[in-house]
Structure formats: structure tokens, C-alpha cells
């Protein structure tokens, strides 16, 4: 998998360099070279945010299977899942931060929270979730930090520092860590559900947008989060997980594949419920957003990217090649990567239907249009943000004991001290 890791480094570097132009344009010119505006006020960055934050919640809930429910088969990847959850949370918040008209006023979200707004709740739930994630990851890594402290390299020094003086890694101390983890993991489950549910509710409560305004919205967000997060963890486990090539590793990937397949089925069922009811709606205007998704100018985002590449293809892989880790991982990658189309198809079509007839031609100008497609700046900035996340992951993978076996100094066979 070293080859694959190198490829990811290359992708991260290219993405970082190329994407930097998007960051520059956003910082230098604000919201001028973007496609969102007055009538479609949210675009790719909002979609990317709910996508990434969903992946975070999903990855976290996979880790909760380990720490709260003690699922043995996944024990070795608990740390990796937590680590992924932190990184995706970080980059999702960065995406939405730069989407703000006044990023420098983001502190007001905490200082002047309006709790009648779902967004107000979201901020506090995030803060709590972030603190919990960091604490949980520390307890999950504590024994490894102590073990790595003996190393003479940078990772050793970092591990020494990150023990914060708590050098006790005896069996008893590990037991203590484990019980703390159980508490944190258990607390985390309702918290992760609440925070991602609140993201869904943020859309669900908007009565002005019939497409969003259903009780199913927060549920779809949660199932989508589990699916996209679980799928990404499956892929990551295959590429970066401990003891690669071992029967145990294989088993873990296959087990994750089964979870993902079940989630894919559930998500498809919910999607069917949403679309069939929505399209059949006796008030035609309520079906407008869905018609836009299925037959509008960006029909391919649904039929090709989502349905063909994100559902049918990986579904077939998981059903017919579910015992082959490489196939399972590929399916996971396809589901996780294409899930952005699902998030885009939530955000944009809800907004791209004129609320009043005749509005689209009444007064024209940039941003006064219902046709949204991300501009180069939007794509590039998003690529940059994801590249930063990829960097953070690849560096963390090298310098933090996120994959080493619990409490052991040995580094997995494939991880060499290259950095």
C-alpha cells in the first residue's frame, strides 16, 4: 500500500498547489468570482461542508462501535476512525467558515447565539463534539504515546509531549483509559446524532423550501453520514489499517463492507421514499426540485455520479465481491467520493426553484439567477481544503500512533520511517 500512500501524497501536493488559487481568489476578491448569490445563496462550499461533516459523524459512529459497544472486529481501527473524524470535521468547518460573508465575525456565533436558529444549536453541538473527539482520541492514543515515547525520532518527541506527563501505561492505567473511552464513546453517540441531526434540521425547518421541509431530512442526513463515513473508513482501513495482509485485516475490511452494504440499502430505501412521495406530490410545485434533480440541466449528477457510480456499481461490488478486500475498499471509495453529489443535490435544487413566478427575469445581474454551477474558484478552494485534510491525515498517519497496535512500540510492517 506504500505505492498508494505515495499517490495520495502526490494528489495532496497537486491539490494544495493548484487549489491555492481558489484560496487566493476568495481572500483577495471575496465573493465576486463565485456562482452562488442572491437567489441560490448556497453552493458547493455549503454542500462540501455538510458532506464532510457527515463523513466526520459517520466515522465517529464507527469508532463508537469500538469504544461504546466493544465490537471486537473493529477494535484495531477505532483510533483511525476517530482521527479521520477530527480531520473531516476540521476541514468541513474551514469550508463553511470561508463561505461566510464575514468570516471575521464567526465568533459571534458563540458569543451571540440565537437558540431559535438551528444554526445556533449547531455551533454549540459542534464545539461539544470537537472537544469530545479530541479527548477521546487522546485517551485512545494514550498508551501508544507512552510506548512511542521511547522512540528517538520526531514522532517519539511528539508522543512524549502529547502524554502531557502521564507516562503510566500499565495494564491498570490502560483499563482506566478504556473505561473513560467507554463513557466518552457512549456520550458521543447521542452527541454525534444530535449535531448531524441539527445540520439536517437546519434544512428541514425551512418551510419556504418544500424539498427540504420534511421530517425525513434530518434522518436522511444521519443515514447519509453513516454511509459516507463508513464507506470512507472502509477504504482507509484497507489502505492504512494495521497488519495489512493479515487475516485479521482482511476480516475487518470485509466486516466493514457488510456494514456499508446494509447502510447503502437503508439509504437507498430512504431515498426511494423521499423521491417517490415527492414526485407523486399532488401539488406540482412541491415536486419541482426533484424534477430538477432527475431531469434538469445537471441530471447526470444524480443518474451517473450518484446512482450509477455511487450506488449501483459499489452495491454490485459489495454483493458479488464482498469477500475480496480490494473490491470492498474500491466500493467504499466510490460511495464516499460520489456522496458529494448527494449533498449538492440537497442544497442546490432546494434553492434553484424560483419562489415566485417571473422572478428569474424580473431583475437580472450576477447572483440573480437560478442556474447554479460552481465556478473555478469554488472548485479550486474546495480542492485546496480537501488537500489540506489529506495532508493532515498523511502526516498524522506518520507521526501519531493512529494505526499501531494498542500499547506496543512496533510500527506496522508497511509504515517505514520515511518522514
Amino acid at each position: 500500500m506504500k505505492k498508494f500512500e505515495r499517490l495520495l501524497w502526490l494528489i495532496a501536493i497537486v491539490g494544495f498547489v493548484v487549489g491555492a488559487f481558489g484560496l487566493y481568489d476568495r481572500v483577495a476578491n471575496g465573493h465576486i468570482n463565485v456562482s452562488y448569490g442572491s437567489y441560490v445563496p448556497w453552493g458547493l462550499w455549503v454542500a462540501a461542508y455538510i458532506y464532510l461533516v457527515g463523513v466526520s459523524a459517520g466515522a465517529f459512529l464507527i469508532s463508537a462501535l469500538v469504544y461504546a459497544f466493544g465490537v471486537q472486529k473493529l477494535e484495531k481501527i477505532g483510533k483511525l476512525a476517530l482521527f479521520t473524524a477530527i480531520i473531516t470535521l476540521g476541514i468541513s468547518l474551514f469550508s463553511i467558515w470561508l463561505d461566510l460573508g464575514h468570516p471575521e465575525r464567526a465568533w459571534r456565533l458563540a458569543a451571540h447565539t440565537n437558540f431559535s436558529s438551528m444554526m445556533g444549536w449547531m455551533i454549540w453541538l459542534y464545539t461539544a463534539y470537537f472537544i469530545l473527539l479530541v479527548a477521546e482520541l487522546w485517551f485512545a492514543l494514550h498508551a501508544d504515546f507512552v510506548a512511542w515515547s521511547a522512540r528517538k525520532d520526531f514522532a517519539g518527541a511528539l508522543a512524549r509531549f502529547l502524554t502531557f506527563g502521564k507516562r503510566d501505561a500499565s495494564a491498570e492505567a490502560q483499563k482506566r483509559d478504556k473505561s473513560v473511552l467507554r463513557v466518552l464513546g457512549s456520550l458521543g453517540i447521542p452527541l454525534a446524532i444530535a449535531f448531524h441531526g441539527s445540520v439536517g434540521a437546519l434544512f428541514g425547518v425551512i418551510g419556504a423550501r418544500p424539498y427540504w421541509n420534511t421530517g425525513l431530512t434530518p434522518i436522511m442526513f444521519l443515514v447519509g453520514a453513516l454511509l459516507s463515513g463508513g464507506a470512507l473508513i472502509t477504504f482507509i482501513t484497507f489502505v492504512f489499517g494495521p497488519n495489512q495482509g493479515s487475516a485479521e485485516h482482511k476480516e475487518t475490511v470485509i466486516f466493514l463492507g457488510q456494514i456499508v452494504l446494509a447502510l447503502l440499502a437503508l439509504d437507498t430505501l430512504l431515498e426511494w421514499a423521499e423521491y417517490s412521495i415527492g414526485l407523486y406530490n399532488s401539488i406540482p410545485a412541491h415536486a419541482a426540485s426533484m424534477e430538477l434533480i432527475l431531469f434538469g440541466p445537471y441530471w447526470w449528477a444524480f443518474w451517473v455520479v450518484h446512482l450509477a457510480i455511487g450506488v449501483v456499481l459499489p452495491g454490485l461490488m459489495l454483493v458479488f465481491r464482498g469477500k475480496t478486500p480490494a473490491w470492498v475498499a474500491t466500493a467504499g471509495l466510490l460511495i464516499a467520493a460520489t456522496f458529494i453529489s448527494v449533498r449538492l443535490n440537497i442544497v442546490i435544487p432546494g434553492l434553484a426553484v424560483p419562489e415566485l413566478e417571473g422572478l428569474s427575469n424580473a431583475f437580472t445581474g450576477p447572483g440573480l439567477t437560478f442556474n447554479y454551477f460552481p465556478t473555478l474558484t469554488e472548485w479550486l478552494l474546495q480542492i485546496w481544503v480537501v488537500s489540506v485534510g489529506l495532508f493532515a491525515f498523511l502526516i498524522g498517519y506518520r507521526v501519531l500512533p493512529v494505526v499501531s497496535a494498542q500499547g506496543k512500540t512496533n510500527i506496522p510492517a508497511n509504515t517505514h520511517k520515511e518522514l
Partner: protein, 271 residues
């Protein structure tokens, strides 16, 4: 107080004297026919009513707008007056005139519908603001505190009338040799001076019609009202039973947009 009779007297004698004098030569104009023509311009009456309303505490005023769609010819002068008054940049509009074609070409007729902010009594945009930057004033106007708005645009998604727009920071003349001064002069929304310059509010904020609250403070009617060539837009205090808007909004041919949503708009349409 001006009325059409005095206007006629004044201009008939001074400006059009040469034109009308042959016809009127030797004829004594009696006061009687002129009094039949006595009719106060709606603007004059509404301005007086506005001043009366301003004497009351803000919480006792109830600003409403009445738009007579039968009189609207779709000239969009109100839209332009609003753009000029509030110095709106590209991509921002407070009062577009929606046009709908009825019939099949070439047998068509047009329907016009000016759409300001409805200043809802139950505004869906207010509770969603995560930082309470948008709120309903005591006089019922839904306002935005530009200095507090973080630009998340959640309120824009929540408005069922698309009455909120986003100021992305564009200028009409940015691609010309000179950024024209009419774009850099301050506007006076909410009776404060706002200069649009890089990154400063109202750039990066949600923006909306506020019934020209700054003009009201100065005893002036909203720009769209004074500029309407057909006197199709009326404005005033609905809590004043003698006001023109009270009379008009009580008509049975009154309707409000998306009444079924329960937003209780304070913009009434006469159809």
C-alpha cells in the same frame, strides 16, 4: 396644501397663458367648476399621514404598503428608484417587478407584480438568524443589523418571497477605467451612513427592503412610493383609521402573497 384646482390656476395663468388665453378670452373663470376638480394628490395626503404617524411612539405605528396591481404598468421606475436610493450594487435588488405573460404568443397580455419585502408579522427569516442580526422593529419593519450579520445567508433561504439578497461586493463600474463615485457614496439605510468598500458592511451581508426606514425617519415616503408614475403604490400607518392605506387595505379585492404560509405580510395587493 396643493390641489389640482390651484395647480391649474397657477400654471394655466403663468405657463400656458398664451395657449389657453384665446379660448378664455373675455370669459370669467368661475370657482365652481374648479372645486369639482379638487382632489388631493395621494402623495400629499400620505406625507401628511406619515408625519402624523411619526408623532406616535414607534410601537404604535404599523407601516403597511398597498400596491394597486390594476394601476401598475410595469415601468419598473420603483425598482430603479430603490436601486438609486439605496445605492444597490449588482446582484442586489429590493423591489423587482415580476412580470408574467398570460396567453400564448402573439396573443398575450402581461401581468406585473412589484415585490418589495413583505415585512411579515411572522417573518420566517428572523428566527433562523444564528446571531440575532435580523429582527422585527417595534414599528414592524424587519431590519438587518449590518454590523452583526455574519453573512451566512440562512435568512435568504428562509424567505418565501426571495426578498433578501446577498451583497457579494460587486460594483457596476469595476471593469471600467474609473469606479464611479455614485457607487462609492454612502447610502443611508437604517439612518446610518454606509460606504461600500472592500469587505466592509453592507458588503458580505444579506440585504433587503426596509420600507426606506431612513426616509421615514426624515418624514419622507419610501422612494418607490414617491416615484410611482401611476400612483399605484401606497404607504402609511395601518393603525391610523383615517389613513389612505387603512381605507385601501380594507377593500375586499385585497390579497397578500402566499397567504397560506401564515407569514402575515404587511404588503397588500389590490387586484
Amino acid at each position: 396644501m396643493t390641489n389640482e384646482a390651484t395647480l391649474l390656476d397657477k400654471y394655466a395663468s403663468e405657463v400656458f397663458a398664451g395657449l389657453v388665453s384665446p379660448a378664455l378670452n373675455g370669459v370669467q373663470i368661475s370657482a365652481a367648476p374648479a372645486s369639482d376638480l379638487t382632489k388631493e394628490d395621494a402623495l400629499v395626503r400620505m406625507t401628511a399621514e406619515l408625519k402624523r404617524a411619526l408623532e406616535k411612539p414607534a410601537s404604535e405605528r404599523r407601516w403597511v404598503m398597498v400596491i394597486d396591481l390594476r394601476k401598475c404598468v410595469g415601468c419598473t421606475a420603483c425598482t430603479i428608484a430603490c436601486v438609486a436610493e439605496n445605492k444597490l450594487p449588482p446582484g442586489v435588488v429590493y423591489r423587482p417587478v415580476l412580470m408574467e405573460e398570460i396567453g400564448t404568443y402573439p396573443n398575450v397580455s402581461m401581468k406585473f407584480l412589484p415585490r418589495p419585502c413583505m415585512q411579515c408579522d411572522e417573518p420566517p427569516c428572523v428566527p433562523v438568524c444564528p446571531v440575532s442580526a435580523t429582527f422585527k422593529r417595534p414599528d414592524g419593519i424587519v431590519a438587518i443589523n449590518y454590523d452583526e450579520c455574519i453573512g451566512c445567508r440562512y435568512c435568504i433561504t428562509a424567505c418565501p418571497y426571495s426578498a433578501r439578497t446577498f451583497d457579494a461586493g460587486r460594483f457596476y463600474t469595476s471593469d471600467t477605467p474609473q469606479l464611479e463615485s455614485y457607487e462609492t457614496l454612502p447610502n443611508f439605510e437604517y439612518s446610518e451612513s454606509w460606504v461600500r468598500s472592500k469587505g466592509d458592511s453592507p458588503i458580505g451581508n444579506a440585504r433587503k427592503c426596509q420600507f426606506c426606514a431612513h426616509r421615514l425617519d426624515a418624514g419622507m415616503l419610501p422612494a418607490c412610493v414617491t416615484t410611482c408614475i401611476g400612483r399605484a403604490t401606497y404607504f402609511g400607518d395601518a393603525n391610523d383609521p383615517d389613513s389612505l392605506v387603512s381605507e385601501l387595505s380594507a377593500s375586499p379585492n385585497m390579497m397578500r402573497l402566499k397567504e397560506e404560509m401564515g407569514t402575515e405580510p404587511k404588503v397588500y395587493y389590490l387586484v
